[in-house]
């Protein structure tokens, strides 16, 4: 691996992880994979690991805000499933094209295919 053309900087012993173009690339584990592997190990009981300090799920009721304006939204448009706060917004929502309404739903994380 340590050929002359491979070594680009004088201070380096070798290129550790950089691969020459054309060589097979090393696949890097994603954080998720690393955590899964970590979790599978028989840790001592008091060990604090990355996944164990995740924030708890929220216990407060989530508030609803109008998707387009951010105002408090008491209503849901049954057609597009968007939240809205007043009549004008409703008219606006109804005139929005599909891709925009889908975008708003995705932004809110409410675009589950199921349902």
């Amino acid at each position: 691996m340590i050929t002359e053309c491979d070594k680009s900087y004088c201070f380096k012993v070798e290129n550790k992880f950089i691969v020459k173009s054309g060589c097979k690339k090393r696949m890097w584990r994603s954080l998720k994979q690393i955590l899964t592997a970590e979790r599978a190990l028989p840790w001592q009981n008091d060990a604090v690991l990355y996944f164990s300090i995740n924030a708890p799920p929220t216990f407060k009721p989530t508030k609803k805000y109008s998707d387009i304006s951010g105002l408090p939204a008491p209503y849901v448009d049954r057609h597009s499933k968007l939240y809205y706060s007043n009549v004008e917004e409703f008219a606006t929502i109804r005139s929005l094209p599909m891709d925009i309404t889908a975008g708003y739903l995705q932004l809110r994380g409410a675009n589950m295919i199921v349902g």
Partner: protein
């Protein structure tokens, strides 16, 4: 208020190669690297300020396609950190070594390290002879640290490494005592870390998986959806600028948005952001009149050119026709030899062919002549003005009246159409007033006597019960088009820069509010305040008080104006009545981690906290020497020796759980 905020579109300045002075070269000066997922800050421990601050990103241009030339394919250089002048140009080629707040992609990390060491001017052969202080994420997985150590020791031959946690460095830098509740708002995560008398209670610390990058993405998407026309002008870097300079955290979000519901408040407080725009030629100092003139002139010139072309073609055709006719004469005279000679020159095969060509030419000439005549007529009488019904009067006052009138008509038609549409929609459904009315009319019709149809208006009844679009709506549709055209032409134009403005109302509060309400983007984790409350619950009341009186805010995202006040308010809400609390904001939330790490590297005990090369080879890559600002070291246990296939099944189960988590 009409002050418009202009985006600055900051440009980065490429890093210089620093001088590698002999004191550095031979002094074994520690090098301090705050390896954050947003920015990397690098500097010598003897310096007051970091030598380099750059975004921890590299842009790897794709290999040139369509380069099959003789020269060997040139791989374009990889741009790193501040080398990237225009980040938007390479947005899709950006890579980072981070996955959330943990380094996972070590090829990129190696490139970043190359960048760091080469820009510091290090020129020793085969090693980087400096101990390194490197920050790492709170409770970094051992796997990640192992690869980092491998990289530093084996690729760069560094003599020693020490790892620490950025937020702890920042806390010690700010000298706020040894007990605090650290709230570290980073680029991908928010950490809440309780520290009591110098002991870090990692088991009670919590991490919210949300940070600056999510806030940027949220606002980016939000504004793109609000202004679909400007999708391309609304770039990530501009959003970042808006967040840095024009956003804040609301003291009471509900109260804040309630205020915005009022149109007056909106008008008075809305932020107008000017997007850069290209001044269209229509407003380049020419009046509408001049433009019209110019257009006319162009049209005339075009006509002239066309006419000239036609005439030229006509002359050409006539010339050819004459020649062909002459040849035809030849054969009629019986001069076959000469005829054969002549048709060779004209690429004609036979007498029939010749005849066909002649008739073709005749036709072409005729057509051309007609066209010329038509064009001449058109020139004589200029086109009648379109839409004669909607000609505005020239007098400005009358024009205003006319304009208002036209607008009113337009609205009226639109309303009528809407009403009709609504009625039709209602009619389709059962049990609506419209449907009932329709049924009534139908039954009435059935009962109508023989005189139905004697009057024309009788037939209108069908319009009222038809579910399809009728002739009325067609007529209205045409009228609408006419009115729209008239309005489009004569409506006074807004200056075009106003079309390129973003109006920010709640958005600058809405995006950072994600920190407190992750549910707004579908993240089901508890928000900052709720998680703090959760963390408090694990401690005795005395310790809680100790923590509450020293809530320490650090990290880049803690610089939102109003965050400190908001936290104080939230603490007031969650803490027992009349108990005290205090929030301290780091002096320099982004850089204090580096300063703290630098002080750490300069302390007398530094050598005891370093992992030496020998220790690395003896203890393995994941080994960590603990100190006051470090993570705790838990040696990775040996994996369970798998008995047959059971572990594979286990792993699958775990994987699924994680999918559910996020």
């Amino acid at each position: 208020m009409e002050d418009v905020l202009v985006l600055k579109d900051h440009k980065t300045v490429p890093d210089i190669v620093h001088e590698y002075e002999p004191t550095l070269k031979f002094g074994h000066i520690p090098l301090v690297i705050d390896n954050g997922s947003y920015q990397c800050r690098v500097g010598w421990s003897i310096n007051d300020e970091p030598n380099m601050i750059f975004k921890n990103l590299i842009a790897r241009p794709r290999k040139d396609r369509c380069k099959k030339d003789a020269e060997p394919p040139v791989t374009p250089p990889i741009q790193i950190g501040n080398d990237i002048i225009n980040i938007e140009a390479v947005r899709f080629q950006l890579k980072t070594q981070f996955d959330k707040n943990v380094v996972t992609h070590f090829e990129v990390q190696e490139q970043v390290c190359d960048y760091i060491f080469s820009h510091l001017g290090i020129d020793n052969e085969g090693c980087v002879p400096h101990p390194i202080v490197m920050t790492e994420a709170f409770v970094t997985p051992n796997y990640s640290r192992q690869l980092m150590s491998e990289l530093l020791f084996e690729a760069y031959g560094v003599p020693a490494v020490s790892y620490g946690v950025d937020s702890l460095f920042s806390m010690y830098k700010n000298d706020i005592g040894d007990s605090a509740l650290i709230v570290n708002c980073g680029y991908h995560t928010i950490h809440i870390i309780p520290v009591i008398k110098g002991k870090v209670f990692a088991e009670y610390a919590r991490r919210i998986n949300l940070g600056g990058s999510e806030i940027i993405c949220y606002l980016h998407k939000l504004l793109q959806l609000k202004y679909p026309v400007h999708v391309n002008a609304i770039t990530m870097s501009r959003i970042e600028e808006i967040l840095h300079e024009h956003s804040s955290i609301a003291l009471d979000y509900q109260e804040e948005i309630r205020k915005w519901a009022s149109p007056d408040y909106y008008e008075a407080n809305v932020k107008r952001i000017q997007l850069p725009f290209v001044q269209s030629t229509s407003s380049s100092g020419l009046t509408a009149e001049q433009q019209k003139e110019r257009k006319k002139e162009m049209a005339r010139r075009l006509l002239e050119i066309n006419a000239r072309k036609r005439e030229e073609r006509l002359a050409e055709d006539e010339e050819q026709l004459n020649q062909l006719l002459a040849i035809q004469d030849l054969i009629e005279d019986g001069d076959t030899d000469e005829f054969n000679e002549a048709i060779k020159g004209f690429d004609i095969k036979s007498y029939e062919d010749l005849q066909r060509q002649i008739s073709n030419l005749n036709m072409r000439i005729e057509k051309n002549k007609q066209r010329i005549a038509a064009a001449a007529n058109a020139e004589e009488m200029p086109e009648p003005k379109p839409s004669g019904r909607f000609q505005p009067p020239s007098d400005p006052e009358a024009f205003q009246v006319w304009l208002n009138d036209t607008r009113a008509k337009y609205r009226e038609v639109v309303q009528r159409r809407e009403a009709r549409r609504a009625r039709r929609a209602a009619m389709v459904r059962r049990r609506t007033a419209a449907a009932a009315e329709r049924m009534r009319v139908i039954s009435h019709l059935a009962a109508a006597g023989d005189d139905f149809g004697t009057r024309d208006s009788d037939w209108d009844v069908y319009k009222s019960i038809s579910r399809e679009a009728d002739s009325d709506s067609e007529a209205d549709g045409e009228r609408l088009v006419e009115l729209e055209e008239a309005l489009r032409e004569y409506e006074p134009q807004q200056p075009s820069n106003q079309h390129h403005q973003l109006h920010l109302a709640i958005e600058p509060f809405r995006a950072p509010e994600l920190m407190f309400q992750p549910s707004m983007m579908g993240n089901l984790e508890a928000g900052l305040a709720e998680t703090m409350e959760y963390v408090f619950k694990h401690f005795s009341p005395e310790d809680q008080l100790l923590l509450a009186n020293n809530v320490f805010l650090t990290g880049g995202c803690s610089q939102f104006p109003g965050l400190k006040e908001r936290l104080e308010r939230e603490l007031l809400e969650m803490r027992p009545f009349q108990s005290t609390h205090k929030v301290i904001l780091a002096k320099n939330p982004s850089l204090d981690a580096w300063y703290g790490a630098r002080d750490f590297a300069g302390s007398n005990e530094f050598e005891n906290w370093c992992i030496t090369k020998e220790e690395y080879y003896e203890m393995g890559g994941e080994y960590l020497k603990e100190h006051h600002a470090s993570n705790k070291y838990y040696k990775s246990p040996a994996p369970i020796v798998d008995n047959t296939l059971a572990p594979a099944g286990d792993a699958n189960v775990v994987k699924e759980e994680i999918v559910v988590d996020c």
